[in-house]
């Protein structure tokens, strides 16, 4: 299996998917805004909002990451309202988003212990009208994209129109389109992009549009269709003041979660963010974002204006950032790492009365840390499990591979371990809800297509069973065993192995699949094993079942009876 090149991955995305993104490219000459070498989440989606309260509009610039064949590319986004006429644009440089990311990312440095200071440096033809029950609001070619904005009360008509016009819509996408189409709270429109016949995947660029309204929203629910586990999402919001999540939580990372790796000279910040969000989902069923930075824009504007671009690409990036940032007083940067099962709603953002948030953070080191210089400092400061995010349905346990301690994931019943790429581009593994597979062996991806094969054929999970997830083999480890991942010649593989120390039984007792909201589709049913003993686990399944309130106890006790779920 090649990485991120399966047709489903290419076809079903709502935002770009899991394709490795370019780090800030090394340049011979370094000028101002492009000097930063701050590590960023290489796998994250990046979305920039610029709110214009006077005009009552919001510019939305979305990075589109994609690997695959040009013919398979499709990008479908639900919108409450159609973009303003003439606002569609594909000229915002990727380099601008990348540079903004690198210059606003949290900067962490160890404090105390053996090190006192950080040593890092700075920084188609237009058409309008009704067509078979579908209203075509916009149809135009924008850069490399053939763009359509359409609406209909009939989800089947929408899907048929998109397919008739060669926008790739898989069977898995149809229920989500129906969910938005039939939502009584708004007349949702759909923005659909495909590459023009002259364009190739190398031409894919961020897409920009101006939308009515001043409350930014990330249309995330459809992303669940093909999201990699623990997918990073970075949201930048330019406006008059700080912004924070409205219907999601504004989460903070406790100091004690942040560790320092002296060998790689970096922190575990992305994993700490993932841990905070996973805990919030597990405890209260509420996902959230961490505000990584919130500050007036003047520093960035000065930096941009004092930047000497090294080439035309940098000059274009500076120009684009100045254009979007000038006139905006404040910038907020928010970060989340989410798996498909956590994408239960579309996060909306509101103005905040909160204070500025500095991007500088200290990592507190143990006071009694050994500073002998023999490598023990690294062990004292952090362990392998500090640098992995197993997801809300998993927990980390160490194992030993070739004599080295490595991090592995134990997954709850109903979850499976999937090899993926971490925020630094490293191979990692995470637990994923088995219900979130929307394309399965035997399914027909598009009408008339051949049934899909079983990607698990010939796959050996070791102490576990292969489970196909969106046509990728994953491993559901036997209870007590843990998963590790590897990639060889572009092929991902997952293995279930014995942990160095037993996985606490309390993990399996306390971690169960949450009830899936009735309005959101799941890809398939999952047979759950017989419930573990609840002695000491604080269970009360009878009352939970009696409440009849779906989601009230989303991560507790709802999967105890043997049942099939959809």
């Amino acid at each position: 299996m090649r990485i991120a090149t399966h047709r489903f991955i290419g076809a079903a995305l709502a935002f770009g998917l899991g394709a490795p993104l370019a780090l800030p490219a090394p340049v011979a000459a370094c000028g101002g805004f492009f000097c930063g070498q701050q590590p960023v989440d290489q796998q994250a989606e990046r979305i920039l909002f610029s709110v214009d309260e006077e005009a009552g509009t919001t510019d939305m610039i979305v990075q589109i990451a994609y690997e695959g064949d040009a013919d398979d590319f499709a990008w479908v986004v639900p919108l409450g309202q159609a973009p303003l006429d003439g606002s569609l644009d594909a000229a915002f440089p990727q380099g601008a988003l990348t540079a903004l990311d690198a210059n606003t990312a949290p900067r962490l440095f160890p404090n105390g212990g053996c090190f006192l200071e950080e040593t890092d440096a700075t920084a188609g033809p237009p058409r309008n009208g009704d067509d078979d029950g579908v209203t075509v609001l916009i149809r135009e070619v924008v850069g490399p994209y053939d763009v359509a904005v359409i609406e209909s009360d009939d989800p089947d008509a929408l899907v048929a129109w998109l397919r008739d016009n060669e926008f790739r819509v898989t069977e898995a996408m149809a229920p989500y389109i129906a969910e938005y189409t039939l939502d009584p709270s708004a007349d949702f429109k759909f923005l659909a992009l495909r590459l023009t016949s002259e364009a190739g995947t190398k031409d894919i660029s961020p897409f920009r549009m101006t939308l009515p309204g001043t409350a930014p929203v990330v249309p995330l629910k459809m992303t669940a269709l093909a999201a990699e586990p623990e997918m990073g999402i970075v949201v930048f919001i330019l406006g008059t003041q700080r912004y924070e999540p409205a219907n999601w939580e504004d989460l903070e990372v406790p100091d004690e979660y942040v560790k320092w790796d002296f060998e790689r000279w970096q922190s575990n910040w992305p994993e700490a963010v993932a841990r905070v969000i996973d805990e919030s989902v597990r405890e209260d069923g509420v996902p959230g974002f961490v505000t990584e930075m919130a500050t007036p824009t003047d520093t960035y504007l000065n930096l941009l204006m004092n930047t000497t671009p090294a080439d035309e690409d940098q000059a274009a990036a500076v120009e684009a950032l100045l254009e979007v940032m000038e006139g905006q007083a404040y910038i907020t940067r928010l970060y989340a790492r989410l798996s498909a099962e956590e994408m239960l709603s579309d996060p909306m953002f509101r103005r905040s009365a909160g204070e500025d948030v500095e991007r500088w953070r200290e990592v507190n080191l143990p006071e009694d840390m050994d500073c002998g210089g023999d490598g023990t400092a690294a062990e004292d400061a952090s362990g392998p499990c500090d640098f992995i995010a197993c997801g809300a349905l998993g927990t980390c346990a160490e194992t030993v591979v070739d004599g080295e301690r490595v991090a592995a994931c134990a997954c709850a019943a109903g979850a499976t371990a999937r090899t993926t790429f971490g925020p630094r581009g490293e191979v990692t593994v995470a637990c994923q809800d088995q219900r979130m597979s929307f394309l399965n062996p035997g399914d027909v991806e598009l009408p008339g297509a051949t049934p899909l094969p079983d990607p698990c054929l010939g796959v050996d999970c070791g102490f576990g069973t292969c489970v196909p997830m969106n046509m990728t083999p994953t491993c559901a480890c036997d209870r007590g065993f843990v998963a590790i991942g590897s990639v060889t010649d572009g092929v991902r593989s997952t293995r279930c192995v014995e942990p160095a120390a037993p996985v606490p039984p309390s993990f399996y007792a306390a971690t169960v699949l949450p009830e899936r909201p009735a309005n959101l589709p799941a890809g398939r049913a999952v047979d759950l094993p017989d419930p573990p003993s609840l002695a000491g686990a604080g269970g009360c399944s009878a009352a939970a079942g009696a409440s009849g309130m779906a989601g009230l106890l989303p991560f507790a006790l709802l999967g105890l009876a043997r049942r099939r779920r959809r």
């Binding site: 009584p184 309204g213 929203v217 009878a542 779906a550």
Partner: protein, 157 residues
Amino acid sequence: MGTQLRRGALVAVLAFVGCGDGVDGELVLVLGQGETAYAELDDGTELPLVAGPQGGHHVWIAMRAEGLSAPGAELLVDAFPRGAADPPRRLPVRTRFALLPDGSWERVGWPAEIPDALCTVDTEVMVRVTLRQGGREAVDERVVVPQGGPGIGACMR
């Protein structure tokens, strides 16, 4: 504050005793307004409609509560023309309240979606919020009058 909270609450119901959170006290909810801070909300208050770029229109509401045993709770937020038959209830969502120094709880800046919003401008809309936790439930409601503004279109009916 406690007196104010109780005055505003319409309903507080102990639904059942079972696998709850061990708290037997009354759950009290007071519906307020505010995107960034809580403010009282009287019946008939004019509230600006806000267009979410991808999510219809809403007004910002805020809530204060007493009797919560933990931050996490479940909300159902309904909005419908005053005098209309109660609409089909929206699905519950999970959220978290912040604990105030006096022991009460607060949630600020919640988007109460207004169906068919553009046609409700300058009309009376009932906003009803149901708070649930541990088998207990509290309901509060207010009549608000949505207002147009920048970026808010006109009713096309």
